[in-house]
């Protein structure tokens, strides 16, 4: 059983995240970290591997070269191998370009199962798996709050607005896991110390057979036009509870806003 886990590197310390006004891209100059949502996918991959007693867990990432530091955290948790696609030409890739590049990297591994976290912690994107499954022509399950493998099938509880569906897809398939699926483990000290020695591969776009025009801004179909401060919420209406009729005033306000 070979499991590919797609992970993202996000700027660390959410509080300090900013968009560079020049490039209009997220400023990635500070420390990077493994996207927390993806650690749930990795944890699930490790559990599948441990449950079956055999297999390989490969983490795949598209990011600048120094992201290998973040991938080491994945190796420390227990992944067997890390593949980083790092290429200057890939900077600024949108969903179209990113999914194209990552799909190539996954194809190269031909895994039995592709796992991914439910969201990019920096972009709030929750779509990549849909594009990957399409490009890989594989069945898709998203928002998986559980995962069981048997008879060559993956069975999951899918969390939707309406409750839980139970979905089943034959392997190989793409499963995006929700963060409710598990509690990611801490890397053990031995794991951290052993991470550096595990196989770590850095690939260029050329290695994947992706043309530079298909990556980065050239390969993207969306663009950032401008950045502005968000509009303020507007004026705050104030009620000082003097006459004891605050509750009435609140209800009147809610009625006006069509909220009751």
């Amino acid at each position: 059983m070979k499991i590919a886990v797609c992970v993202k590197e996000v700027p660390d310390a959410a509080a300090a995240r900013r968009i560079d006004p020049q490039t209009k891209r997220l400023d990635r100059s500070g420390d990077g970290a493994l996207n927390e949502f993806d650690t749930h996918a990795l944890e699930e991959a490790l559990r599948v591997k441990e449950g079956s007693g055999e297999g390989e867990v490969v983490v795949l990432c598209l990011a600048p070269e120094r992201a290998m530091n973040s991938l080491r955290k994945a190796l420390a948790m227990g992944a067997d191998r890390a593949v980083l696609v790092a290429d200057d030409a890939a900077a600024g890739s949108d969903l179209v370009a990113t999914s194209k590049i990552l799909a190539k990297a996954i194809e190269r591994e031909s895994p039995d199962l592709v796992l991914i976290g439910q969201q990019g912690g920096d972009s709030d994107g929750a779509v990549l798996w849909g594009s990957l499954a399409e490009r890989l022509r594989l069945p898709l399950v998203s928002q998986a709050a559980s995962l069981e493998l048997s008879d060559g099938k993956a069975r999951s509880k899918r969390q939707t607005e309406y409750g839980y569906d139970v979905l089943e897809a034959p392997l190989p398939c793409v499963v995006a896991v929700s963060d409710a699926i598990n509690e990611p483990r801490y890397p053990s000290l031995k794991g951290i110390m052993g991470a550096k020695k595990k196989p770590q591969e850095t690939l260029s776009l050329a290695d994947l057979g992706v043309d530079a025009t298909e990556a980065g801004e050239a390969g993207s179909r969306t663009e950032v036009l401008s950045l502005t401060d968000p509009p303020s919420r507007g004026d705050t209406q104030r009620i000082e509870d003097e006459g004891g009729d605050s509750a009435e005033k609140i209800v009147a306000y809610l009625a006006e806003q069509k909220l009751v």
Binding site: D94, W129, V166, L225, Q237, S246, I250, L259
Partner: protein
């Protein structure tokens, strides 16, 4: 004149409110707005969409589309876009719609912008509005070529009342890719919980340390029940063991964006704010006239929640009953 297609999601025989809101928005853009429905036995919904601004409603009605699964829907939409040449395809965000949009993006190599709260036509081009980085910045996003795909945040647009318009209903056939039908639904959604979770709730009544003591959460539970909402809590009171962690809103808890957030006895430090600031309407009740939460509330009520909340509950109940 631009042509926009809106994917209308259905649930239990009705179009979702979010989809109708996006459809209304698409119609207001000036060009032609069409809708597409995918499912089984959904033809009845089609007739109502004209009233929400659709000039044409494409209906893919097929047993293979019965389950709310994304991949077969990608096939339907891709064929429509390829044949009809739409300039934009818009979706109201949901688990299903996000997956359909992402699949369609890959199929057509079409740009997808998500988390949009609004869209406008500027110099003949579509421009989306997207709050980013915990809503600390508003980003104008565009598409470099058609078709432009867009996913809108829940609650971005309210559906119109529905007028007298009628739409041409066109049945489309359903050519499915081999891999699109491999995922099967074994069991259809059933609720595992009573009442909405704080992530799903339209109304949240949240309590903080200003409640004074844990027992007073029952006041909030009563109010939430009357409003059909859920109860949330701040870190401080979860920390103190007054309410379960699953209901914690904020930096280290959940992020919520209900239509109404009623904050009771919450001072509103940034750690709490980042978890609820994208709520539609924020009403705060606090004794302290200088509570930071008032700075980002729509309605600031200075007063004693012990007196106000029970009265409010009673008034809301009366309103519901009448």
């Amino acid at each position: 004149m631009s042509r926009t297609l809106v994917y209308v999601e259905d649930h239990e025989g009705e179009a979702t409110k979010g989809s109708l809101g996006v459809l209304g928005k698409a119609a207001s853009l000036g060009g032609e707005a069409a809708a597409v429905l995918c499912g089984s036995g959904i033809a009845s919904i089609a007739d109502s969409l004209g009233a929400h601004g659709a000039s044409t409603v494409y209906v893919a009605d097929d047993a293979a589309l019965e389950s709310p699964l994304p991949q077969p829907r990608v096939d339907v939409l891709a064929k429509l876009v390829q044949e009809q040449g739409f300039d934009a395809v818009l979706f109201a965000s949901s688990v299903l719609s996000a997956d359909v949009a992402a699949g369609l993006s890959a199929r057509l190599d079409a740009g997808l912008n998500w988390d949009l709260t609004d869209v406008e036509e500027r110099d003949g081009r579509l421009v989306g509005k997207r709050p980013a980085l915990q809503d600390s910045v508003l980003v104008d996003v565009g598409w470099t070529e058609a078709p432009a795909l867009g996913l809108f945040r829940t609650g971005s647009f309210e559906p119109g009342e529905g007028g007298g318009g009628s739409a041409e209903v066109v049945t489309v056939d359903v050519p499915l890719e081999d891999f699109s039908t491999l995922t099967a639904m074994v069991e259809r959604a059933h609720e595992e919980k009573s009442g909405p979770s704080i992530e799903d709730a339209d109304v949240i009544v949240a309590g903080g340390r200003g409640l004074g003591e844990p027992e007073r959460f029952s006041l909030l539970e009563d109010l939430a029940k009357a409003l059909g909402g859920a109860v949330a809590a701040t870190r401080a009171v979860v920390d103190a063991g007054w309410y379960p962690y699953a209901s914690q809103v904020g930096q280290t808890g959940r992020t919520v964006s209900p239509k109404l957030y009623l904050a009771c006895g919450i001072s509103g430090a940034i750690q709490h704010k980042v978890g609820m600031q994208s709520s539609g309407t924020i009403v705060a009740i606090n004794k302290d006239p200088n509570a930071p939460i008032f700075e980002y509330s729509d309605l600031a009520v200075v007063g004693d929640l012990n007196e106000i909340v029970p009265k409010l509950t009673e008034l809301v109940r009366q309103r519901r009953q009448s």
